[in-house]
Structures are given as structure tokens and as C-alpha cells.
Amino acid sequence: MNVLRALGLIFMLVVSPAAHAQADEAALRGIITDFAISKNFRETEQIVRELSATGDPAAARVLTALADGNVAFRKADKAVFIVREQAGKSMLLDPLTGEEAGQAAGGELTKVKVNNGLRRTIREALATLTLASPNPAIRQQAADTMFAAPDPTAIEALDAAIEAEAIPAVKQHMIEARASAVLFSALPEAEKLAAIAIIGERGDRAALSLLAGYQARAEGALKEAATAAISNIQSTLALWNAAQNVWYGISLGSVLLLAAIGLAITFGVMGVINMAHGEMVMLGAYTTFVVQNVIRASYPELFDWSLAIALPLAFLVAGGVGMVMERGLIRFLYGRPLETLLATWGVSLVLQQAVRTIFGPTNREVGNPSWMSGSFDLGQMAITWNRLWIVVFALAVFALLLYVLNRTPWGLQMRAVTQNRRMASSMGIRTPRIDALTFALGSGIAGMAGVALSQGDNVSPDLGQGYIIDSFMVVVFGGVGNLWGTLVGAFSLGILNKFLEPYAGAVLGKILVLVLLILFIQKRPRGLFALRGRAVEA
């Protein structure tokens, strides 16, 4: 008898959790089938709330899929599945377990429609369901979502999560989420004041948004506390905003630097006004496009290396075109700056039309490799990866050029020709050859700049036109022929532009920069760091 009872107990203990689990699963499946009969967004939202109310983490899978637009039901039997597109076919997955449950052709399925409001609801539902996830990043994400969308009924769940949390960083986020929930609950004032303190400590934009929303409806001591916290956060954010503007100025400056540095060399060393400089940048951008096309077609796994592959090719292409231009056209026009200007303007038109004929007049898509997308946070500043890499690249190119100019024999000859052409010639330096190589170097650097700039700008035959004016501006401001002048010029113009932009707007900001530049040139016609260079004589 006792054995039987013991066996019975063991049986019950083993079976009942399983039975319990089965009952839960059945309940969940019951709710999930409703997705197929939902007639509009409000009904779907209702179903999502029901799933969330079960508190069962197993519902997280189907909710995540729904937010991504991957939940569909079969028209024939209204069975609900998660859909994964694979090689043109729709693989069906079980909504709770994620196991494969067959395939379907496109016409057999109807997608469950989602809109922004629904995605918000799903995100909040997921937060409550994944608060106990084994993955700390997911737990932190859940806490952040709950912070932004305070729900007083979640205080208990948050308390339990805080108890169980081992990682301090995640715990802090959960404490902040709890504070935000407390603020919107019916708890006593002392607790709410403590909550405001915690939220104020957090001090980021989400905290500011939350407090601003709360302050509008608060009264008395709470309102004062909220207002004080808000102004604290705002003054901190104002400092971060200024830092952010400096960063934007640096990134704009790096773009200007890349575009202008090649021009600094050709204009500086040879005094040649090269109106086709922007087209060299454009050629570099199109080289990137061609390289990416080849990679996309034949070696798709190399896509992240596409820029590294494109760099030397762009240098060669643009440098080659530059050398041809110098040997074939500019050599005959030395000492005649107006003719050079007109001739190179003509070449720029020819290059633009050539590219237009070969590639078509519309924009070409140049993709960002994965390491160039997204951003990371530095304090309260968001730094985007593509801009960061462009800054790094610009400084690397600058360092490379400095090295070439100052440490190589070729660079020595270039500097000699810049300072005194006749003397250099008498010393046995073959000045025509140096001219050709210098021009090729300047154009090649512009081509490399084009590879970087293709990541941020539209690639079209007119790409160069947007950079030619800016390049001349930087070179004239910084001092012709001086690399350091170009660096300082580019970054100061970039930062100046970015500081003017919030107040004057993009259009007026640019105008003001140009006006200031004109006034500056009146005072110092040779730019910031003047160099005693000479125009090439015939």
C-alpha cells in the first residue's frame, strides 16, 4: 500500500509538471491560433496582450517573430507558423518550439500584419517575458524597455528580478526600471522622490523624456524634484551636445581633408589649378562600385573586404588618369593658369560624360560592409562606425603622405621642385618626371578618398562637383602646398560648419562659412600656413 502510494506520489510529481507544462502549452497554442482570425491591428494587439499575460517565456519566440513580420497562417487550415525565407522557399516553423514543420509556397500563406503601434506593444510584452532570460544582454534590454514604458504592475516582477540578478550593470538597469514603474504607481511620496533621484542619476535622454512626461502631470514636491532633475540632466546633455558637435565637425573635417589633400599636392607643388580633381574622387567611388559588383557576383563572402580591395585599385585608376592628363594636356600649358583651368574643366566634363555613358546617369548602389554600419555610445554621444572609420582613414592617408613627402627620396625631390624649380633642375632632378608623378600621386590620393566617400554619399557622375569647391576652399584656407595647413584648414572648417549648423541651418551655415573665408583671405591671402611655392614656369 505504502509502495503504491509512494509510487503514485512519484508518478504525480513527475507527471504533473509535465502535465502542467502541457496545459500551459495548450493554453498558449489556443491563444496563438487567434492570430489567424484577427481582423485588424487592435485585435492582434489584444492577442499579444493575452500572450503577455500568461507570463510564459515560451511565448517570446512567436512574439519576436511577429515583431519582425515573420508570422503567417496557412489559408487552408488557418494554422499559424513562423516563416523563414530560405533560398526562395518559405520554411514553416512551429510557433512555440521553433521546429521545422514543413514548407509552403508563397500563395498559400497570409502574413499577419503588424504596424508601429503593434510593434511597440510587442516590445513591451517581450520585456516582461524575457526579464528572466539566461542571456544578460536580453535581460538588460528588457529592463531598458520597461524603463521607457513604465508599468506599475511590473514592480513585483522587477523586485524578483533584482533579487536574482548577479551582474551589477544589469542590476542597475533593473533598479532604474523599477524606479520608473514606481513613479507612475500609487506608492507613497517618499518612495517616488527616491525614484526621481535614481532616474536623475541615470541622466540620459530616455530619463529626460520620462521625467519630462511625468513633470507635466505632477504636483508639489514631486514636481519640484522632477524639474530639478530635468534641469540637471539638461545641463549635462548640453555639454555632451557640444562634444557631439565637435565630433561631427571632426568627421566633416575628415571628409574635407580626404577630398582636399590630393589637391594640396598638385596645386602646391605645381601650381596647377585642376578642376578635374573632383572627378578623380568620383572615379575612386566608381572603382569601389565595380569591385563590389564583381565581389557580389563571384565571391560574396569577401564583401567585408571590398573596401580594402578597392583602395589600391582606386589609387591606380585615378593615378593613371591623372598621369595621362598631365602628360597629354597639362604639360603643354605650364605657366598659363587660365588655360590650365579651362582645359582641366573640359577634362572634368569629358570624364563625367564618359562615366555617364558607361554606367548610366542614375545613382549606383555602393554598400556598407558590416563593420561600417551602426553606432556605439561614448557617454551620451552616439558615434557612428562609418564616420569613425573615415576619420581614421583620413588620418592614415595624411600620415602616409607625410611619410612619402618627408622620408622618401621621391618626396625630397618633390619638395625641392616646389621650393625652387630651376635650382632643383640644376641639381639633376628631372622636373618633368617629378611633375607627372606628383600629379599622379595627387590624383591617386583623390581616388582613395573616393573609396571612403562612397560610403557616405550617393555615387553618381556628379559626385565630384560636390567636392571640388570644398577642396579648393580648404587648400586656399590652409595654405597652398602645405600638408599641415590642409589638415588644420579642413578640421577647422568642418568644426566651424557644424557649430553654425544648429543655429543657422545647413544652407545658411555653408554660406556663412564661405563669407568668413572670403574675409579671412582678405587679411591673409596666402592662407594659414603660407609656403613659398612657385607656379611652374614654361
Partner: protein
Amino acid sequence: MRGTIATMSAGLLAAGLALTPAAAQEDTIKVGVLHSLSGTMAISETTLKDTMLFLIEEQNRKGGLLGKKLEAVVVDPASDWPLFAEKARELLAVNKVAAVFGCWTSVSRKSVLPVFEELNGLLFYPVQYEGEESQRNVFYTGAAPNQQAIPAVDYLMNEEGVERWVLAGTDYVYPQTTNKILQAYLASKGVAPEDIMINYTPFGHSDWQTIVTDIKNFGSAGKKTAVVSTINGDANVPFYKELANQGIKAEDIPVVAFSVGEEELAGIDTGPLVGHLTAWNYFQSVDTSENAEFIAAWKAFIKDDKRVTNDPMEAHYIGFNMWVKAVEKAGTTDPDAVIDAIVGVSVPNLSGGYSAMMPNHHITKPVLIGEIQADGQMETVWETPGLVVGDEWSDYLPDSKDLIADWRAPLSCGNFNVATGKCGGKGIN
């Protein structure tokens, strides 16, 4: 010797001239296509040129018009607004086209208006615009603000609960006038001026870092914020890329764009844009048999399965069919006759209804609000229950609320002021 050569060349010239009329024009009706095929607007306008070629070929297959074949005359004004006027003059005076289908930006349309008035040509303008205009020689088959901008703002206010607004546009007449109308509209709905942020950028602007950060900051005031974007051309591509890079999600700060459609999204990775909104009168995803036929025929014509259809293409479809019907009704391509015949003409649209040409030279259209999907298509999330009549003189601006346009006799006026009972309220007439 010189004399002989001179006589011989004169003789050859005369022969050549004599031959030309004989070898002459086959009897065709010429249709002008005035769309930018290069420059910053090429991303949007090139497909409209292809659409016109497609429609003309379809019409020729049905037997042409008035027994003659249609011939397309394509010019490229290259996103250069003064060049639009020159090319329009070339189409009307030199090529003697019967009608012109073209323009996109309002500045290009404003540039060509004097030409069409002077040479009495017909312009079918397929793009959503800011209103405040009604010309005798122009037929506006795109949306007026009450057929796009106002319903979009209503959707955001009512369905998404938006309380703070960023009005971001390109720096020219369309965004500026639309924003004036929207400001007046929002004020009439009780939105305070400090809850509206306005921002303009030049065509082709590519450095959106500061502006996107400003949008983030503006949206951190505790109230739901949305961006109403009238940014035109390829500046949209770096704008959306920057939004994605800085992590602004559509659930938090949705962006509703009026000049971004399937075509502009075709060249970019739309993964990060899912959930952002567009407001048009037609989407490629509209599920009707007319639309399915149109898309199939278009893909067969252009020989590319990846090409998309969009709202301005549907506007050209409607406008072209209206012109054909009006010419058939009038029995001639003479502009004055067509202008008289076209009012009241009704043709099917691609969303299962009919579109009629109203006396103010605007048409009736449904309004659809859609969310961008990962594949670059739009999913309709809201639509007007019926058709909306285009109202070019906005009721929300004090200058224009008393104005109507009616080009039928006896009124024949583009800006008739109902309060004073006089024609000539404002604008070119």
C-alpha cells in the same frame, strides 16, 4: 571653279530640301516626355520616362489615337530648372507635341508654366505637390496637400498619438508651402509652436549627422514625436542611412515621407527602415486585378522583374488615359478642344475605383498610408473610406481659403475669390 562648286552645292541643298517634305513625317501624334534623366532627381524621374514609353506602346498596340500612331519625344532637362523651361519650349515649338507629360519638383513646374501659357501647350503633372496653383494648361494628376499631407498628419495624430512634430524638407517651394499649410493645420488642432521644429536642407545634402541628432533631442521631451519629411531626390538615401546608423526606430520616432516611394527605396537596404511611413494614393502592393495586370505588363515591357511601380507612375497612367479619352471625345488634339473636353472624363485607377478630372484640373484619388517593409514595398495600414477631391487652394491658409478654381465656361478662372466674387485672387492666371 568656285562658281561651279557653288552652283553644285546649291543644287544639292535644294534637292535635299525638296526631298525632305516628301520623305516627310509619317502621320504620328507626338507626345513629349519632360523628365530628368540625370542629376539629383534622376533617381525619381527616370522611371516616369520609361512609364510614358510603356503607355505609348500599349496605346499604339490598341490602334493608336485618332487612327494615328503615337510617337514619344524624350528630352533630358537634367534636374536643371531653367533647362526645364528651354526643353519645354523645344518640345512645343520645335517638335510640336500634342501634350507633355513631365516635371517632378515644383520648381521645375513653376519654371515651365510661362512656356505652356505662351505656347498654349498641355502639361500633365503626375507628382504630389503643395497646391496653391491652378493653371488652364496644366492637369494635376498627383496629390494636392489634402490628398496626402493632411491625411498623413491626421493618421499620426489619431492612430500614433503624435504630439511633437519635426517638419524636415528640401529647400524649395514644395516643402516650404506644404510646411506652411501643415503649421496652420497643426495650430488649428491645438499644437503649440514649441512642439514644431522646422528644418530645410539643400538638394543632394549628404551630411545628416547634426539634423538626426537634433531630431533625437527634440524627441526626448516626453511626448511622442514624428518626422514629416518633404525631402526630395537622392538626399533621402543618406538621410535614412543616418537614421538607421543612429538607431532611431520607427516605433519610437516614425518618419512619414511624401516623396519617397518604391522607386527611391529600390536602391537601398530597407531593413532598418521597416515601420517608417509613406503617404500616397497608390502602392504597388495594392491587391486588385487591374494592378496585377498593370504590373505584369510593365515588367514585361521593361524586361526586368525587379523594377517596381509607384504612385507617380499610376498618375501618368491615369493622366495619359484621360488625355486619350478627351482627345477621342473632342476628335482632335487641339489643346483648347482637349481642355474643354477633359473635364468630367473618368478613367479607372489601379486601386479598384475610378478617377475623374474635376473642373479645377485636379482629380479624385484615395489616400493610402503605408509602412515600409523589408523588401522595399509598402504595407497599407490605413486608407480613406472613399475618394478625395483634390483641393488646390488650401483651406488652412488665410490667403487661399476663399479661392476656388473652375476652368469651365463661364468662370474659366484658376483663382476665383468666392468672398469678393472676382477672378484673380493670387498666383499666375
